[in-house]
């Protein structure tokens, strides 16, 4: 029963891109991880349709592909928000109160960590140390890093994204 994920809307261009990636890597030993990474870069996540293409293309069983995809936190089986918030929960950030920032973000966005807002604008995740410990506590929204956070700053930071200015 394929097509479990009714929301999947891959384009032929994306499929073509993925096919190329698979062809390029096929003969490299241990290529599954790089292919999954590039596939996620193309589609934003790794639904069953994408993993099936990879399984077929590389001749690796779907259960193995899925086992790898669910082992690493980087891989996502569900679509992410338009803007991806990633709050660092590394030690340096934790001792400086990152847990409080996370709780505040969860409340503001109305989602739990790991989820995506209903409007699809934000997804909220935690991560382990972005290596900017000097700025702790830190979060990333897409590729931008926001440091030395406190709860009161959050609305100002989120606003431009809400208004579509970022």
């Amino acid at each position: 029963m394929k097509g479990q994920n009714l929301g999947f809307q891959g384009t032929p261009e994306q499929a073509e891109k993925l096919k190329k990636v698979i062809e390029e890597h096929k003969s490299t030993p241990g290529c599954l991880m790089p292919v999954l990474q590039e596939a996620q870069a193309i589609y934003g996540y790794l639904p069953i349709e994408v993993q099936t293409m990879i399984s077929d293309g590389l001749g690796i069983s779907l259960s193995e592909v899925y086992g790898v995809a669910t082992f690493y936190t980087q891989f996502s089986l569900t679509p992410k928000g338009k803007h991806r918030i990633s709050l660092c929960l590394g030690t340096a950030c934790y001792v400086k109160g990152a847990d409080k920032i996370l709780a505040a973000l969860e409340k503001k966005l109305g989602v739990k960590c790991g989820e995506c807002t209903v409007d699809g604008l934000f997804s909220l995740d935690s991560c382990r140390c972005v290596g900017a410990c000097g700025l702790a506590p830190v979060m990333m929204i897409d590729d931008d890093v926001y440091g030395k956070l406190n709860v009161d700053m959050l609305d100002d930071i989120l606003q431009p994204y809400r208004e579509g200015k970022k």
Partner: protein, 630 residues
């Protein structure tokens, strides 16, 4: 490229770099030789990039252009180490150390300092470099830098991170040339053994022995791997080396390849380090173009190629066998040892794996000799160690000190002490595999053996300083949450043990602990140490065991008195309003999300502790310090 050509580049760029190591007149003379009146070094490490160092470089360049200045060299370097003050920018020949720069400040620096006849803008300088008499102290003389000894970080913050010529100018690839043209593999191993270098990734296995095993293993195909999967939260030395001096790693891997008879290297690097990955890619590309990596290196007939593999967010992949399983494209689950990687590693072939910091030590050992290297450090721990200093400490950043330096030196002198007048409570080293060092052990010289003895471990070198506001039960719960989350789930002691340990700790922090839970914790911890499959499970109980060792009274206070002395564990706290201090402004009442605060305007308020959810909003809102938790 031949060795002669390599040396020619080195000679060409050496002066340019020397300027940055000298201050003042000497450097001014050299300046004339290089053709640049001034050099501006802007930190392009992750920390400073996060705080807009990229924009700063753009502003510098455009303003210089506007002003028609073309004898100032602007370069983007790796991390300077003092991340707390980023973005950082240094101007030579003065050695002016500008901190917490903004694009606007950068523009001013061009207009007031970099223009011909301009002068240092003292307001922008790092206060530590400004002497009471108004003179400027070289930044290397400030307490943060003075006690350091930079071997692994020697080129970080000194050279342009994406220019191989600068790397060569600073001495990179000299060791490779020396090894390939004048040393046999056995001589390299002898040198490594004599240096006493031990792996900087955690366990501290002697690097020379590792190489010797791999060399002795039979096989036409062997691999050299670099562990750049720096998963220890709060550690970022490997990232900084990759961002600041990627060639030092490439060079060292090639040396190892020559030594053990390998022609292929893999660097397994965290995908969360985009800048490091990019610089590695640039470095590999440039090194290949120069023939320093690839076929027939330096015309000696030795081939060595390097491929980058990205991690995907699994802490356990820092374990060597798990890392190899991951490169092979599988779930990053550890394999039983033996067979050891030196015999049967990546793809079943003899393999050596060292971490980034270890690799960064190779060039100096080859160039300056094992004798020099082994003269640094303690009896069994030679050389230096880089620590990522973080948490409740003034100078957050990267520090490299000789082995044997005391925690006190690091915290009080280099780190500048604890901010906000708080008291030092413990230093957590070794991340989730390490432990907490209490104030009573501050004078123990830090090396592999001593750290183990006091219940912690070197680990990769994260050092998080904890102050009196940190609850030690909560911090061990934090680490257990981490290891439970990162356990691969393959072996039972770790898969179930971390989960049950975490449950017991959670129970204690919720005020539901019983004294018998401490016995269970001890039993579980011992079991995991003795019987887990890999180092992750074996060392996962360390944070608990070390905090139990030094802070058992805190555990007991949680269990018996139902108190969290640090005021962290919410379930054990109550919030009160001190009537004498309360002005009755109603701010807390208005902000309380559950309506737990009562009181009339201009009259002392009170908190209904049965309604209070202990969110702490009232404390942050109160302007008079009238609300306390105990």
């Amino acid at each position: 490229m031949t060795v002669a050509e390599l040396n020619e580049i080195k000679a060409r760029y050496a002066d340019l770099i020397k300027v940055r190591q000298l201050i003042g007149e000497q450097s001014a003379k050299l300046e004339q030789a290089t053709g640049y009146r001034k050099q501006v070094l802007v930190c392009g490490g992750t920390g400073c990039t996060s705080s807009r160092s990229k924009e700063i470089i753009e502003v510098l360049e455009s303003t210089l252009k506007e002003q028609g200045i073309n004898d100032v060299l602007v370069i983007k370097t790796g991390c300077f180490g003092l991340c707390a003050l980023g973005p950082i920018m240094i101007v030579y020949p003065e050695g002016a150390f500008y901190s917490q720069m903004t694009p606007a400040h950068a523009k001013m620096v061009v207009e007031r300092h970099l223009i011909p006849g301009g002068d240092v803008i003292k307001e922008y300088l790092y206060s530590g470099t400004l002497m009471p008499d108004g003179s400027i102290q070289p930044f290397l003389e400030t307490p943060f830098y003075k006690r350091q000894m930079r071997i692994a970080l020697r080129n970080c913050g000194l050279i342009a991170a994406e220019d191989i010529n600068e790397a060569i100018g600073a001495g990179d690839y000299q060791a490779l040339a020396k090894v390939l043209t004048t040393m046999t593999p056995d001589q390299v191993i002898e040198e490594m053994l004599a240096s006493g270098l031990r792996g900087r990734g955690g366990a501290g296995f002697p690097t020379g022995r590792k190489w010797a095993f791999a060399k002795a293993s039979q096989g036409d195909i062997k691999y050299v791997c670099c562990n750049a999967d720096e998963g220890d939260p709060g550690a970022f030395m490997d990232r900084s080396i990759l961002e600041g001096d990627p060639h030092s790693v490439l060079e060292a891997m090639a040396i190892a390849g020559y030594t053990i008879g390998s022609n292929q290297g893999y660097i397994y690097v965290r995908a969360e380090y985009p800048i490091a990955v990019h610089r590695l890619q640039v470095a590999i590309k440039q090194a290949k173009e120069y023939g320093l990596i690839g076929k027939n290196i330096l015309g000696t007939g030795f081939d060595f190629d390097i491929e980058i593999r990205l991690g995907a967010g699994a802490f356990v992949c820092g374990e060597e066998t798990a890392l190899m399983t991951s490169i092979e494209g599988h779930r990053g689950e550890p394999r039983p040892r033996p067979p050891f990687p030196a015999v049967k590693g990546l793809f079943g072939r003899p393999t050596i794996l060292n971490n980034v910091e270890t690799w960064a030590n190779i060039n100096p050992i080859i160039m300056k000799g094992a004798k020099w290297f082994s003269s640094i450090g303690t009896e069994n721990s030679k050389g230096t160690k880089v620590f990522a200093l973080g948490g409740k400490i003034t100078n957050v950043g990267l520090v490299e000190v000789p082995m044997g330096t005391t925690l006190r030196t690091i915290v009080e002198e280099i780190g500048g002490g604890i901010p906000n007048g708080k008291k030092f409570k413990a230093a957590q080293t070794g991340g989730p595999s390490g432990g907490c060092i209490p104030a009573s052990c501050m004078d123990v010289p830090i090396d592999y053996e001593n750290l183990k003895k006091i219940g912690s471990m070197m680990g990769s070198g994260g050092m998080i300083i904890l102050d009196e506001d940190t609850c030690m039960v909560d911090i061990s719960k934090f680490y257990l949450e981490f290891t439970a989350d990162e356990s691969c789930g393959k072996c039972n002691p770790c898969r179930i043990g971390t989960k049950r340990l975490l449950e017991l700790l959670t129970k204690i922090t919720k005020g539901k602990g019983e004294l018998s839970d401490l016995d269970k914790i001890h039993d579980l911890a011992e079991h995991m140490q003795a019987s887990s499959l890999c180092a992750l499970g074996q060392s996962a109980p360390n944070p608990i065991l070390s905090t139990l060792r030094y802070f058992e009274d805190e555990y007991r206070a949680h269990i018996i008195d139902k108190k969290c002395t640090a005021g962290v564990c919410k379930a054990l706290l109550s919030y009160y309003i001190v009537p004498d201090k309360c002005r009755g402004c109603t701010l807390c009442k208005r902000n309380c999300p559950v309506g737990a605060i009562e009181g009339n305007l201009k009259q002392p308020h009170a908190i209904d502790t049965t309604k209070c959810i202990r969110c702490g909003v009232c404390i942050t809102k109160c302007n008079f310090g009238a609300i306390i938790k105990k």
